[in-house]
Symmetry: C2
Subunit: 344 residues, 2 copies
């Protein structure tokens, strides 16, 4: 299996991407990596991090870098030799089975959509990620690619999310829920109500409406929502987790007795940290494209980025693109099917 890694993107660049590549190669003995970027910079980093002359790594030259704050449209038009673009091109050409980038989400989505195109029957690609839950994790989509969504979009997200949960989490019949709000008065928007009606008639394991709390309770496997709510949920989760961690840290540093208690709790706190480590959840998939594209957090460290590469490996193994193609076709809405000239 060959995966292309955009080795220049992210907040840090090669000093994270190259060590992450080394970790990934150690974890997956049959993995081959193409590091995409400026050859001189990459070769220096590979020498520094003990990755020179590795039999399963090669460098693919790309002269430009997409900035983390660069406008997607500008990056797409103006930087045709960026490490991001070249990595996606390698997937398009079939040279690589997937690509991984820690670059700017908007540019990655725009470029991937332009180069790879969406699968037949998919109107909009979605961003999906795992979130921690009571007994494992939940897949949630869309996390920000589509601020507003039609019922058809939400329905397609449900189909794609179920494929992903089946493929990478080994769930036979993932439970799919539609994110909604609790207040009886105004249960959901029209778009959500219509999506619910469509999902009830599908053969997906649709369990109905879920709320924000349910994401973490372990009673649903795939949470479907528009990109606005999804992004708000994700960022709120990140924000409050950091706040809680900060408060806990502050209390353990407050005075000598607390510091001694922290010492006594070292093992407990290490295990706790490991369970809530956001790095374990790094790696969001851009679903619905003609190829596997994984987005890593821009601020990911090597361990974290290696997790994103691991997700790419899982999706390649599970042939996620082909499964989505088949499933979207199997779940095509009547009117979509009628309008689709070439559904294969």
């Amino acid at each position: 299996m060959i995966i292309a890694l955009d080795a220049m993107s992210g907040d840090v660049g090669v000093d994270v991407t190259v060590p992450a590549a080394r970790r990934a190669l150690e974890r997956h003995p049959s993995l081959e990596l193409i590091l995409v970027g400026q050859p001189s910079v990459l070769e220096a980093a590979m020498a520094k991090h003990g990755l020179q002359a590795h039999p399963r790594v090669r460098v693919e030259p790309a002269s430009e870098i997409v900035g983390m704050d660069e406008e997607p449209a500008k990056a797409l038009r103006g930087k045709k030799d960026s490490s991001m673009r070249v990595a996606i091109n390698l997937v398009h050409a079939g040279t690589a089975q997937a690509c991984v980038s820690a670059g700017n989400t908007g540019a990655l989505m725009a470029t991937a959509r332009f180069v790879l195109k969406t699968l037949p029957g998919v109107d909009r690609p979605a961003i999906v990620s795992k979130l921690p839950s009571r007994n494992g994790h939940t897949h949630m989509l869309d996390l920000g690619a589509n601020a507003e969504c039609s019922p058809e979009h939400l329905y397609q997200f449900a189909v794609m999310g179920a494929v992903l949960a089946r493929a990478v989490s080994n769930l036979q019949d993932p439970r799919v829920g539609l994110l909604n709000i609790g207040s009886e008065d105004i249960k959901g928007t029209q778009s959500i109500k219509s999506a619910a009606a469509m999902l009830s008639q599908s053969d997906l394991n649709y369990i109905g409406y879920v709320e924000g709390t349910d994401i973490f309770l372990g009673n649903v496997d795939v949470v479907v929502c528009d990109g606005f709510s999804g992004n708000v949920a994700l960022k709120s989760m990140e924000g409050v987790s950091r706040l809680i961690a900060d408060f806990l840290g502050e209390e353990y540093r407050r005075g000598l007795l607390s510091k001694l208690a922290a010492l006594a709790s070292y093992g407990v706190l290490q295990r706790f940290r490991k369970r809530v480590d956001p790095r374990a959840y790094n790696g969001a998939s851009l679903l619905g494209l003609n190829g596997i594209v994984i987005k890593s957090h821009g601020s990911a460290d090597a361990m974290s980025l290696e997790n994103a590469i691991h997700i790419a490996v899982l999706e390649c193994h599970a042939r996620v693109t082909e499964s989505i193609r088949d499933q979207v076709e199997a779940h095509l809405l009547p009117d979509v099917a009628a309008n689709l000239d070439n559904p294969s």
Copy 2:
């Protein structure tokens, strides 16, 4: 100051509301409470919890109770002598300056809106609550009363939220932010963009777009959003907080050494718990009505419900209704002003 307490609502009822009333009377020496509900039930509970013949408490009879899952429209039409309705009536009649209920949110909003009406210039009441942040707390609205919002609604929420932050949090010039998502590609919906344009031209201290993470960072005082996103953010926050607390508890119970560490950490964990105690944040305000209505969590305990009563006290002191009336008028949009027959 006289506050009406819907003493029958909530998951528990009088065994929470009566002890909460006692706590509130102890905390606020000039507070008078009207406990609304079935007299025989209330008098028994008052005897049981040491609140009989208290000089600052009286009972107002109400024969019915609105169920926690009852449809708002049904409650509004069918239960005209419910404890919820009678408590709101007392505010409408001027007998009480505020009311507090742990009853069903939809029914409370529908009844309050029907009885009290919205203030001139306010199209939709909103639900606002404090959320914890790095250096204090953030006010966020709407939390679920209005799933979809026009730019004008969001603008009115901003005006009302700023009044509340000024009144109850003693902020001179609260920083107001509009909740949005980070991805550059698709920064926000049309409604948010238009609301941003309106806020930029207002004399509110509008600081621009904020993301879900910012709610907890302490760099914004009032976060404005539609009720769908607000409810999703709130519930996600609750869900992940509970998950983290559960994980921490589990690790501290894993084996003898961990239990000893928990013992050594007793003081630290107590302080930590106090800082993240959701009970300290109980009490959401229904803003934009002709009167003060506070909604407590249905599962609130006595300490938690007492916090909701405390918020009612603060809002009465600050004359929040009058301030919102004045400020909404001062910030009236040109076309709203033109259409308003009687803006006083």
